[in-house]
Every structure is written in structure tokens, then in C-alpha cells.
Symmetry: C2
């Protein structure tokens, strides 16, 4: 049961000039479900990507990096669900290349202009023939209005599709930002991968776009965690088609970049948070803010230490204000010279720990009240400096174990 998350209203998803989407039911893992997507990109777009840091990255991730590094113009994404093409060795690489080749042939572009993405079961051979057979159908369906269907076609066992749109205005013209994503934390048995694809019709030069993509990723998808497991396939792609006709943004000092960044970040954060809200077995959405750190890295480490502690996560699940566990996680973050006597802990509006110990006025019933809610904000003040970090996560429930322990069937 996702936490305070509704399916996207397809009519609210803005088409992005220069982007067309088409899906197929290729029967990759199960028949009768959308499992293949082509996202076609018009000429002249800037395309940038951020990929998993997992060194056991999947074949399509390797190919994506190759094709982006080659520097040619990217003109299409091809995404399949049902199989991650990870842990598949040289055969997996050949399969991913074959898909790029066939998509390129259909679209009349070069193979290096295609980026492939896969999500699903790990360490099983990709059913490449079924994928190749499905591509013509996806190609025939290409149309700008298909964002809602596209969101469905990349789901593994997300309980609902994830899509978001924003309209902004640059140079007096309407600019669309629309994105889709699928769930993190290996949502179901064998189903690996966070995928996110966000497009805008704004125009930004490639170098600046790569920098902006990194910034957006760091403030959205890189701020979430379900279970701390980084998948083999995580990929985020940002596309600026330039089809709105505005003059290209070429400088980091251009005030129009601030406007665009804000819209991109809203879409990216909504999608990233949707992934957490639909996290495996999630019953609560938790925002962890760490302030007063010496560095941003230090703040992040503390936030992730809290977010990844199974004991903290099970306490949230149980609505148990067993908040010493949060202090223990703070102490466990690897900050060698942390002075616990300077640490403050707040839960929503409740001051739980003052100067490293239980606050004298703290009453368990106040902690209990906050813990019963479905949206909880943990705020830790370290008393070491002015740096801060934020992380979004969910609780650890029985359902998480059930989901991940179910035999693959």
C-alpha cells in the first residue's frame, strides 16, 4: 500500500515537444502487459544521464555509458521491463547491442544514437527475440501524448505508475517538464532498478545540461533510499529537446536556468518521493533532515545511517517512539570526533533529545503521537557547523520481508 500516493492523472501529463512515446506488449516475462517502450527524441536535443555506482552494473548501463561518451546525438531510448539483463556477461552485452541496432533500423538512425534500459530479474538471459519482435509495435504507436502509458510500460511490480508534469514560462513561452519513473529498492523479488526519464522542450547546451542533470539527480533521486541496496541498473536520463523554440540557455549565470531548474527539480523530487511512497512494504514516509554538520558529506552520512538502520525502520513501522535507536544510528555514522553532548533530536514538533540525552520535558505520549502519523520528519542537529542534508525513506515492515522472500513466481 503506497503512502499517500495517487496514480497520475494522464490528462495532467503535458506533452513535451520533440518527444514521442510508443509501447508494446512483448511478452518478456508475462503476456498481456506493457513491457517495452520506445521514447523517440527529435533532432538537436541535449541528453544527459546519471547511472548506478554499482560495479556489477547491467549490460544496458555499460552500453548507455558507451553511447553517451561517443558524443553523438542521442535520438531514442528503448526500455524493457521483466528482465534486467544484469549478471549476463558478454551475451547480455550482445543482446543490448542487438536491441539498439534494431531500434535504430526502425527509426532510421545510427545504433549509437539509441540508449537501452532494462529492469527486472537479475542473472537470467534476456529473451532478446521477443524484445526484437516487439519493437515494430512500439514504433507504430509513437505519439507525444503517451506519457501515461509509458509510465505503465516501465513498471515492474510498482503498485502504481509514477509520472509528473510542471508547466513553467521562459521568455514568455510555456515550457513543459514531464517525467516518469519506476520504483527503487528492488521493489519485488528479483525486480531491480530505479529508472527515471524526464524531458523538457526548453533548450540548453549539452555541457550545461550534463551539469544540470547531475544537480537534479543529487537533489532528488540521490536523496532517497528504501533499503540501501543500490541496484545494478539505476539510471536517470534528462532530455532537453529545445523544441519550444526559446533561445538556448548557454550559461550557468542565465537567470532562465534558475526557472528551469526549479521546474525540473519539482518533477524529479515528486517522482523520487513517489518511489519511496511506493517502496517495498512502506507504511510511512519519512523525511530525515540533518543540520549543523561540518560538511554536507557528514550530514549525508548521518542521514543515511538513520535511514538505513533496520532498528530505526522497524520502530517507525511499529509506531514505537523508541527514539534512542535514532541516537544510536547517529553515533554509528562514522564521524570520529562527534560530541554526543551537542546533539539535538526533534520528531516533527517534539524535542526528543537535548544535548545528547533525553529532553527533561519529553513525554513518551508526544513521541507516540508523532510516530502514529504516516508522514514523519526527523530532524537532527549535530552542533558542528552549518552544513545540512536531507534524505527521504520509508519504514521496514513485515510486508517488506514477504515481498522480498516470496519465491520468484
Amino acid at each position: 500500500m503506497p503512502v499517500n500516493l495517487a496514480p497520475p492523472d494522464s490528462s495532467s501529463l503535458l506533452a513535451v515537444a520533440g518527444i514521442e512515446l510508443g509501447w508494446a506488449e512483448a511478452g518478456i516475462r508475462k503476456p498481456g502487459r506493457k513491457d517495452l517502450l520506445i521514447l523517440r527524441i527529435g533532432a538537436g536535443a541535449s541528453v544527459a544521464g546519471v547511472f548506478t555506482r554499482n560495479r556489477f552494473c547491467a549490460a544496458p548501463v555499460i552500453i548507455c555509458r558507451e553511447h553517451l561518451a561517443a558524443g553523438g546525438e542521442i535520438r531514442a531510448l528503448v526500455v524493457n521491463t521483466g528482465n534486467a539483463n544484469a549478471g549476463t556477461g558478454t551475451a547480455g552485452l550482445a543482446d543490448a547491442r542487438a536491441i539498439c541496432g534494431e531500434a535504430a533500423r526502425l527509426l532510421g538512425i545510427a545504433s549509437e544514437q539509441v540508449l537501452p534500459f532494462s529492469t527486472g530479474v537479475i542473472m537470467e538471459p534476456l529473451p532478446v527475440q521477443r524484445l526484437l519482435a516487439g519493437l515494430p509495435q512500439a514504433n507504430q504507436r509513437l505519439a507525444p501524448a503517451h506519457w501515461g502509458e509509458a509510465a505503465e510500460s516501465i513498471m515492474t511490480t510498482d503498485t502504481m505508475p509514477k509520472a509528473a508534469s510542471r508547466r513553467t514560462v521562459i521568455d514568455g513561452r510555456p515550457i513543459a517538464v514531464t517525467g516518469i519513473a519506476k520504483g527503487a529498492g528492488m521493489i519485488r523479488p528479483n525486480m531491480a532498478t530505479m529508472l527515471g526519464f524526464i524531458a523538457t522542450d526548453a533548450a540548453v547546451t549539452p555541457v550545461l545540461w550534463r551539469e544540470l542533470t547531475r544537480q537534479v539527480a543529487d537533489a532528488s533521486f540521490n536523496r532517497i533510499t528504501v533499503d540501501g541496496d543500490t541496484s545494478t541498473n539505476d539510471s536517470l536520463i534528462l532530455i532537453a529537446t529545445g523544441a519550444s523554440g526559446i533561445a538556448p540557455i548557454t550559461s550557468a549565470d542565465d537567470p532562465r536556468l534558475t526557472t528551469l531548474r526549479a521546474a525540473l527539480l519539482e518533477v524529479a523530487q515528486q517522482l523520487a518521493q513517489a518511489i519511496v511512497r511506493d517502496g517495498e512494504g512502506a507504511t510511512k514516509f519519512i523525511e530525515i533532515v540533518v543540520e549543523g554538520a561540518g560538511t554536507v558529506d557528514e550530514a549525508s552520512r548521518v542521514a543515511y545511517s538513520i535511514a538505513h538502520s533496520p532498528l530505526v525502520k522497524t520502530a517507525f513501522f511499529a509506531s514505537d517512539p523508541n527514539l534512542g535507536r535514532i541516537l544510536a544510528a547517529v553515533g554509528n555514522a562514522g564521524i570520529g570526533d562527534l560530541d554526543q553532548r551537542r546533539v539535538q533530536l526533534h520528531l516533527n514538533d517534539v524535542w526528543v533529545a537535548r544535548d545528547g540525552g533525553r529532553h527533561p520535558q519529553y513525554r513518551e505520549q508526544d513521541g507516540q503521537r508523532v510516530m502514529r502519523g504516516s508522514e514523519i520528519k526527523v530532524r537532527v542537529e549535530l552542533g558542528r557547523g552549518a552544513a545540512s542534508a536531507i534524505v527521504w525513506t520509508c519504514d521496514l515492515s513485515h510486508e517488506y520481508v514477504s515481498i522480498n522472500a516470496d519465491y520468484r513466481s
Copy 2:
């Protein structure tokens, strides 16, 4: 249900000359259970400790470090269960000092010669009056034969006491090594802490003993993990009373040290593994061996990345040979230049992944057979060098969530 673990046979626990143990039922958290222990140490012993790296360490850990650093002769340990005296600020420190003072008064020694230990609920005030009132009773019970009762008196919600003994021979004399421990991974709601106390009547100089204690810890208690949460109170104390009358071991080159180290390590590893076998909700005991690493640190990081992956742990629970998850955890260990094409994965006698991909001869039924067992050995070969590391862990079950999500009651 502990995994292949039987309660210790009290008659098999060897008394250690120079050590006496006495317990009390102090009613710290619940009436009618052993919850307070004094371990008295004869004059002339070497005592060394290894403590949690958690920076939110508990008051007794702070006092232990103080008293050991002061360099005086340690003559007693006082241990309570039911309350961890962690996250308790300056009041907690005062409470721990009061306990040392009262124990010292009863035993006719100085306060700085006492090491205090607490385990139990975090961030709740220590019921220090009940502790103080229980000390005389524990003092009256001091006797060399009480190792079994001592093991019981430090349990929180371990499902069984943990104790082990070995007899070895040095200079033709029998030497005893006996130890007790209590469970890791914050075994039950709020119950923090791994504690281990091991004593021998061998004689070793203090400097050498400190080095030996570090070596034994690194090869036993520092090789286990249940859920990756390092508690605020973890402590391991090794005591060499010298009461056997052998000439003191003063040099690292003394061959007698090898004999003693082997016996200590056997006891320490048995206790450490008992903690994993009695881990929260454990249904399987898993040994993870990483070989062919560039450095021991690298090997350790890979082993812990596997041991801490919730996805790997739930797959073990489900007996699901979903072994791509292990490869993903290897890739997730933060080794930047790992070449996945050199990675081999074995599960017991089954070669699962060869050169980074599924082994062509691997059959799911062979993986299934191994996964159904209660003792599983994961062996990963990285192909980078000659360093190796070992970690012992357990699976992640529904029961883990139940145990940790139960409201404190």
C-alpha cells in the same frame, strides 16, 4: 529459534583461577530474574577491552575507557541487564560512577578498579537505586564456579545463555579459558549490546595482552553481524589472571602465546557465532568468505556488503536461490575499479557465477538444494589479489521485524 545452538552445559564450564562470579536479582526491569553480575578479578591480572565505535556510546563505555586509560589494576567488572544507560547524558555518567563506587566499597578496592557494563533499553534513566541495592547480594554469591549463572545474568532477550570453555596446556600445566557473551544486533526491542567477557588463568604482560585482545576481537566478535547496527554499548573484555602459576608470557615471539591465542580464539569464535545463531529471528547461519581481494579491507567491505544487504538476507530466509542479489551486493561494496568479469561466486559446493555471469552449468535446483540448508557458505572470488576476509551472519526473517517492531512491554 536459534540455529543449531544448544545451551551450554554448566558442568563443562571450567573455573578460571583468580576469577569469582556472583549475581543478584535486582529487579532492574523485571522482578525475579538474574540481572546483575559482579566478576571479581584477583590481584596481578592483565585486563584489556575493546569497545563500540558508536560515537553515541553509553555512559558505562565512557567510564570503562577512563578506568582502563588510568592504568590502575582492574579488579572487578559489574554488569547489569535491563537498561543500557545510553543516551542518558550527565545523569547516566553519575549513575555509572555511583555503581563503581559502591562495588569498590564492598570489595575493598578503589572505584577506578571497577569496570561497569550495562545492556538493555536505551535513553531511559538507569534505576540506579535498585542496582545499588542489589550489589551486596551479588557480592555474597561470589564463587569461581558460577560461570553458567553469570551467562544467564547478562542476557537481555537472548533465547539462551552463551558460554564456552577450552582447556589447553602451557609449560605442562592445564590452562583454562572460559567466556560468556550476550547477543548482538540489539536482540529485542530496545535491547542493545553485544557483551563478551573471557578469562584465562594464563599469565601475560599487560601490553601484550592488549594486543592479543585486539587480535582475538578482530577474528571473532568483529567478524559477525546481524543487522549492521553497531550498538552504543558493545564491549569485549579479556582477562589473564596469571593464577595458573606459569611464568608470564612477555614476548610476542613466545611460542606459548600461539597455544594460548588458539584457545582464546576458539572460545571467542564459539561465543561470537553463538550470537549470530541466536540472532534476531535467525533461521540460517551464513558464512561469507571473500577471497582474491587486493586488501583485507577490500575483502571485508565486500563480505559486509553481502551480509548487510536486506535483499540477500531475505533471499536466504526464503531459501530462494536468487543469487544475482549477491552479485549486486558485491558490486555495491564501493570498490571503484572492480572488474565484474573476474568475479566467481560459489554457494557451498555449487559454482553459481563464473567470470561475472551465471555459470553455464549452473542449475537452479543445485542452488535451491544449498539454500534449503540451515548452514550456508558463500564464497566470492574477486580476482584482484591474495587477501581474504570472513564474516558470519544470519538471514532476515519475518520474526526479525516482529521482534523489533513489538512495542516495548
